[in-house]
Amino acid sequence: MSANLQEAIGPVCESFGHDRTRLLDILLAVQQRLGGIDDRAIDAVAAELAIPRVDVAGVVSFYTFLAPKTRGQLVIRLCNDLPDLMMGAEEVAAGLEAELGIRFGETTPDGRFTLEWASCIGMSDQAPAALFGDVVVPRLTPGTARRLVAELRQQPPGADLHRLLVRAYGDGANAHDLVRAAVENNLRQAGEVIFAQAEPDAGLSKALAMSPAEVIREVKTARLRGRGGAGFPTGMKWEFVRAADGPQRYLICNADEGEPGTFKDRVILTERPDLLFEGMTIAGYAIGAEHGILYLRGEYAYLRAYLEHVLARRREKGLLGKSVLGKPGFNFDIRIQMGAGAYICGEETALISSCEGLRGDPKNRPPFPAQRGYLGHPTSVNNVETLCCVPRIIQRGSGWFASIGSRRSTGTKCLSISGDCTRRGVYELPLGTTLRDVLARCGGEDAVAVQVGGPSGRLVGPEAFDREICFDDLATGGSLVVFGPGRDPLWVASQYMAFFIHESCGYCTPCRVGNVLLKERVDRILAGRGEPEDLDYLRALATTVKTASRCGLGQTSPNPVLSVLDNFRPACEARLKEPFEGRQTGFDIAAKLAEAQRLTGRKSVHFDA
């Protein structure tokens, strides 16, 4: 091991107490210092922590933000989510490629720039957007993108690029000294719960005057259900955790927000961090936890310093730390765990793996996190928005909360709306609002289809526009992507399958292999080579993947395909070809021969392509 490497890595490991469970933080810090993690750095970290190098290599290669090979000094990650593609991300990509003289996936010969595609970075309402290192650059055009990299190239190595990348700050806390981001909140509609003005920490004071059991009862009476997607009753989850045996309990806030098209948690983190930390503190009190973790997705690293600052201020005010607000015996503090570019880490057991410094593989259930979660301790994982509802419920009462929304879906829901509509952004609306109403608000009246709940949700057509957004009808973790006239449902399905292939952890067979097979057949139909039997093939395959997969990712990843089969069947059928004179339409002889022709340097006599 070279002395330099040792010098860089030793102190990093030391600062985390050589704790193997902090491997993700250690690797992020090492990468920050060295600019990348190569084999020698992997060896050095493994030696320092006295763990197998294959385990370190396994973690490095799992997270897209950790680079197993040395990347350029500045990695430009252009978002390839659908709203970005619809707003011209491919043209932006072509501009970047032309300016830098490299293709996506490559690094410039001088080692300064790398171009990569990224799964949704949470900026769908200001697409196309890219991350330049940690810095978000939204609303790109091919022209601005080219000018930007041309200017960056002129900078001497080590120059402060932030000034160039961010010309104007966004609204609200985006302009705060510790954020300085060009990101816009686009908060179009503040509702009564999350974005209403409220007295700070009134909920917390009131909660600490109650018993933990009373707090849980209030949350149950409000019928609060999880906002992260699954809609599990929050009070019930807390009761399980509180009832579980163990010397310690943990509260984890899920701010991974990886579902493509979702960005409402970003706006909450920007504008309501105190409300979130207040909610986490109340949750900690309710379940009997002393430690809270905010799992912040790597894409939102630009918010980290600000959030740390808010936490520090809360510690100073006695809102965190020993005896919170003077309550004897109630100690609670929060640390931020950074993610590193893996959608699967939003799944609660994968999120726990990630917090433990492991590959982001989900865990087998049982045991459930409420029984044995983070480091084996009973753990409650809750979404950002869910936790923000809690102080308001305690402050204003469960009756008030339950009076908003519908009977089984109480309260408001923050929706992230993007795509073919005129007023993209965040809308906080009562649950039970119809899709048609939402489309009218956001200027998406001429939609031909709407993706509700991200790729794992449903793609619905106009016949569903009178349905309600709530847990029991059109459920959504928050994302609505609007597709206007001319958009192709099959293209949507193909793009979403590409997302799932990229984001599957690869642990179990059906999801690792099945998603690839689903996309292959969707693409064949898209290319006009589908046969009538392909539709049954797709449905059977989709069913197998959903039934056999180990976690929520694979159990829902075939949904884009099933949505198209269920709701847009004519769009598929119009493309199918009957086999002609016994020839299989799906078989592309020219493509099959292409490689042989290339290798032999000869052309086929019969099938000259």
């Binding site: 197998p52 690869g506 059906p510 099945g514 292959e520 039934t547």
Partner: protein, 237 residues
């Protein structure tokens, strides 16, 4: 240890289990075969392959990880689940490069044996023909990545039974790959007698120089299908 007895049913048959048993363990003891691939008696179950998927009170669950509970109604040998398992086995074939006729493990391979048991002669999915690497660096052990189904048996066995950490995985999704605790296999402390090598259900991990010691025709699954070690012999027809 709590050894309280509980009962439940698999396909209508009453099964006795001890509290703490998984469905698969209880089924094995009762002579009911639930197909499996990533499971091994000596190792902690991992729920990787999903071939053991059963329905528990209607819900799909992996029998190797799901604890048995009193009164549960388990479906195992149904047409739906047989088809599901065929699909999963098909997926494992097309995901790798499996040329059984050239493979030393043929006849002893659990993947091949399952395919035979399920009557699969050719996979229905298109071959993906991935590029995988072969590591022949070690004097005694060969690793042919073309045949790896990522079941993790070697990973778990090396740690739990050999007290080593020779194997692991890198990458994710379809790019998930078998990896070694060093730049190649020769750089690790693997040895031919390791449990990890014997744990491999396919022809990925092979001990050198003993190939075909047992001739084709006299191998484990050449005469009776996989699972017959668990099931009572079928009545004479």
């Amino acid at each position: 240890m709590n050894t309280e007895a509980i009962t439940f049913t698999i396909d209508g048959k009453k099964i006795e289990a001890r509290r703490g048993d998984t469905i698969l363990e209880a089924a094995d003891r009762a002579g009911v075969y639930i197909p499996r691939l990533c499971w091994m008696k000596e190792l902690l179950p991992a729920g990787v392959c999903r071939v053991c998927t059963v329905r528990v009170n209607g819900r799909p669950q992996a029998a190797c990880t799901q604890p048995a509970a009193a009164g549960m109604v388990v479906e195992n040998d149904t047409e739906e689940l047989r088809q599901l398992r065929r699909d999963l086995i098909d997926m494992l074939f097309v995901e790798g490069n499996h040329f059984c006729m050239f493979c030393e493990r043929s006849g002893n391979c659990e993947l091949q044996a399952l395919a035979y048991r399920f009557g699969i002669t050719a996979p229905k999915y298109p071959f993906l023909f991935p590029r995988r690497s072969v590591d022949a660096s070690h004097p005694d052990v060969l690793a042919d990545g073309n045949r790896c189904i990522r079941c993790g048996r070697c990973v778990r066995a090396s740690r739990a039974l050999d007290g080593k950490s020779v194997f692991g995985f890198t990458g994710r999704g379809p790019q998930k790959r078998l990896a070694f605790n060093g730049p190649n296999l020769a750089a690790t402390d693997v040895a031919a007698p390791d449990h990890a090598i014997a744990a491999c259900p396919t022809g990925t991990l092979i001990v050198k120089r003993v190939g075909y010691k047992v001739p084709i025709g006299r191998r484990l699954y050449d005469h009776s299908p996989i699972g017959s070690e668990i099931e009572p012999p079928a009545p004479e027809k």
